[in-house]
């Protein structure tokens, strides 16, 4: 049943959203690398006043195995308030959860039992294939015309192109392929928009054959992974411009546009520069009528004894930072950058987006560092800060440690483990020692993306400044 008043988790502007109450629960996608046990949505208690704070308090197993849960999103968000097609009396209650390997999409209801969400619908891979021609669904965004679901791969025997499928807001059926004219775009990964400017941006990773069995050295050194940003007309669904970052910049992943709808800039993370193993963050922005991208952060590789390195990077004698996720606070002031290789989470002040200033850093895990969490100082940790999510008020930052099954195994061959951490972000940037679910808390599964109850910094877009 629809609501009489707008869903209280919808906010007209990012300014209003920053005053949202703190989240009480977090939903975390967890997957079984061996594909013998079902993947699950873990529910974490994030209420500091609660007796089970920092613990897994709910666990919804999927009916299948081998889905490889990865990213996911909400059925509705603040974009429902947008003036051209307002429908704010829908509820934010369903998680749309794609299986990146199985190409299934689960719809999971969090309303009736928030700590025990219920699966209410399963879209099988062939529906996505038949109606949109895609597979390997990844990012979910609640948008004006429906749910936008990016997919890495083609379907029906085709490796690509990857692109965006549109899902119906209410029935969650696949409506079809979003693109009318994809231009030269072939590789896909993330997508988001400047919703008030009718602009959509997509990024590039690789097709299923390029990523599913691990990173392929020849492809990487041959500079075959994605290295460009694509800009689209959100209304006409047409490709407008490609901005190539240079083919040495391999794998352009997460896209974090400014939340302020009057602005037209955003940040994109690049995993690795094959010339020096550095990682980088790019700012896209307007350059006259066209789009341009400027490298605003470079994070160098850290030299290491080859004996300490996994085979995949042994020849290089250095640990690449591997920027695999970034997240921008709702007030557009702080950018968080995950260095999954070196085990570092960096915080930048990006009030001037062209000149980020590093304003805090913590170490945890890492290929050679194995830095422990302060709550368990004797426990060396594998994996590194990976998926990072920021609360709407910007005060709390959550990270999990798994990247992607086969890639975890290459970079952390002795086991990536499973952990989640929370940081308090204010004048200082430090770990919350009370929040460290790890090891058996995740029941042998690996945690990936976090979604916060009521929304977070990467879930909502706003039409009013």
């Amino acid at each position: 049943m629809a609501l009489w008043k707008p869903d209280p988790t919808f906010y007209p502007s990012p300014r209003d959203a920053a005053s949202a109450p703190p989240e009480k629960l977090a939903y975390v996608a967890a997957f079984d690398r061996s594909a013998t046990k079902p993947d699950a949505i873990a529910v974490l208690d994030t209420d500091p006043g609660s007796g089970s704070y920092g613990e897994v308090v709910g666990w919804t197993e999927l009916p299948h195995t081998g889905d490889e849960l990865h990213h996911f999103g909400w059925n509705a968000c603040s974009s429902a308030l947008c003036p051209y097609a307002p429908h704010p009396h829908v509820e934010r209650r369903y998680l749309i959860v794609p299986g990146l390997r199985s190409s299934r999409v689960y719809v999971i209801d969090t309303k009736e039992q928030p700590t025990s969400p219920q699966i209410v619908k399963v879209l099988e891979a062939d529906e996505l294939a038949k109606r949109a021609g895609y597979s390997r669904p990844h990012t979910v965004h609640c948008g004006p015309e429906g749910l936008y679901l990016t997919a890495l791969g083609g379907a029906n025997g085709e490796d690509g192109p990857g692109g965006i499928a549109l899902l119906d807001h209410t029935s969650f059926e696949v409506l079809g392929r979003w693109e009318v004219d994809r231009g030269p775009q072939y590789l896909a990964y993330d997508a988001w928009w400047h919703i008030a400017h009718d602009v959509l941006i997509t990024s590039e990773w690789g097709t299923p054959s390029m990523v599913e069995d691990g990173v392929v050295g020849e492809l990487l050194l041959g500079r075959k992974y994605g290295h460009a940003l694509h800009f689209w007309d959100l209304r006409k669904r047409r490709h407008v411009q490609t901005v190539d970052l240079g083919d040495e910049h391999q794998m352009v992943l997460e896209l974090r546009p400014a939340h302020d709808p009057t602005k037209q800039y955003g940040f994109a993370g690049v995993v690795v520069n094959v010339e020096d193993l550095s990682a980088s963050v790019w700012l896209w922005h307007r350059d006259g009528d066209a789009w341009a991208a400027t490298k605003v952060i470079t994070i160098p590789a850290e030299p290491a004894d080859p004996a300490d390195l996994p085979p995949v990077i042994q020849p290089f004698g250095a640990v690449p930072p591997l920027v695999t996720d970034i997240d921008l606070s709702v007030d557009d002031q702080w950018l968080y950058v995950s260095c999954w290789g070196t085990g570092e989470l960096k915080r930048y002040d990006v009030s001037d987006p062209f000149k980020p200033v590093e304003a805090g850093s913590v170490r945890i895990g890492g290929i050679t560092g194995r830095t422990p969490h302060p709550a368990a100082p004797d426990l060396p940790l594998a994996g590194g800060p990976q998926m990072v999510e920021v609360s709407r008020d910007g005060r709390r930052v959550y990270v999990t440690n798994s990247l992607y099954g086969s890639w975890d195994d290459q970079f952390y061959p002795d086991g990536v483990g499973a952990w989640m951490a929370k940081l308090d972000s204010g004048a200082d940037f430090t770990f919350d020692e009370r929040f460290f679910p790890h090891g058996d808390a995740f029941r042998g599964l690996r945690p990936h993306q976090t979604r916060l109850q009521g929304g977070d910094a990467s879930s909502d877009s706003y039409c009013y400044p």
């Binding site: 007209p12 003036p83 051209y84 097609a85 015309e145 400017h197």
Partner: protein, 210 residues
């Protein structure tokens, strides 16, 4: 046209103007996007024009039909259709789809026309139009009846749109200048459902008073 019908026309216009989905919210958004009140003000006439076109089509069509077919038949058939439309609006969970915020004023008027049309804004006026129709088939002949029907349709549209425009304008400027959009979170009742009930009510009224 009786005083009662006139009041009903104005009231329905105010009701349409009040609904954020019918356009004042879009005007405010356009103003906020460029921090310019002028953008709010220039958007309102375009929105009103689109609304007028949508309402006008129905008003003129109904009035013209009445000039050749008995008012009673128009009222009953139209009322039944209206009640069904309202019921569908009430039960359907589909919402208006549109993408795009960067619109020219012409496109904005087009948007408003579509928005008003799919919500049946003009249909809601049906009982007022049929109740205030000039009696058809006078000795002056068909041509004259059609001429006066046309005038009556235009008059209905004008009064209704003026009320809609005034209310939407006042709200848009108030929200833009004073209140702020945070009020949406508290005060935005689901007018689409009220609207659907109003359509059913209007349809029923048209049938009953026929």
């Amino acid at each position: 046209m009786t005083e009662g019908s006139l009041a009903a026309l104005v009231a329905l216009g105010a009701f349409h103007g009040l609904n954020p989905g019918m356009g004042w919210l879009f005007a405010v958004a356009r103003g906020l996007q460029e921090r310019a009140r002028a953008r709010v003000l220039e958007s309102l006439p375009a929105i009103a024009a689109g609304h007028a076109a949508s309402v006008g089509v129905v008003a003129v069509l109904v009035s013209l039909t009445q000039s050749v077919v008995a008012t009673r038949i128009v009222a009953i058939a139209g009322g039944a259709a209206l009640a069904c439309f309202g019921l569908w609006r009430l039960l359907s969970r589909r919402h208006f789809r549109w993408v795009g915020m960067r619109l020219s004023l012409w496109q904005l008027a087009g948007w408003s026309f579509l928005m008003s049309s799919v919500h049946g804004a003009g249909l809601m006026l049906l009982p007022v139009i049929t109740a205030s129709a000039p009696v058809a088939g006078h000795a002056h002949g068909l041509g004259h009846a059609q001429g006066s029907a046309l005038m009556s349709g235009i008059f209905v549209t004008g009064v209704h749109t003026l009320a809609m425009f005034a209310v939407a304008g006042v709200i848009a400027v108030l929200v833009y200048e004073v209140v702020g959009l945070a009020v949406l979170r508290r005060a935005w009742l689901d007018l689409d459902r009220v609207w659907a009930l109003a359509l059913i009510g209007a349809g029923t009224a048209a049938v009953l008073t026929a």
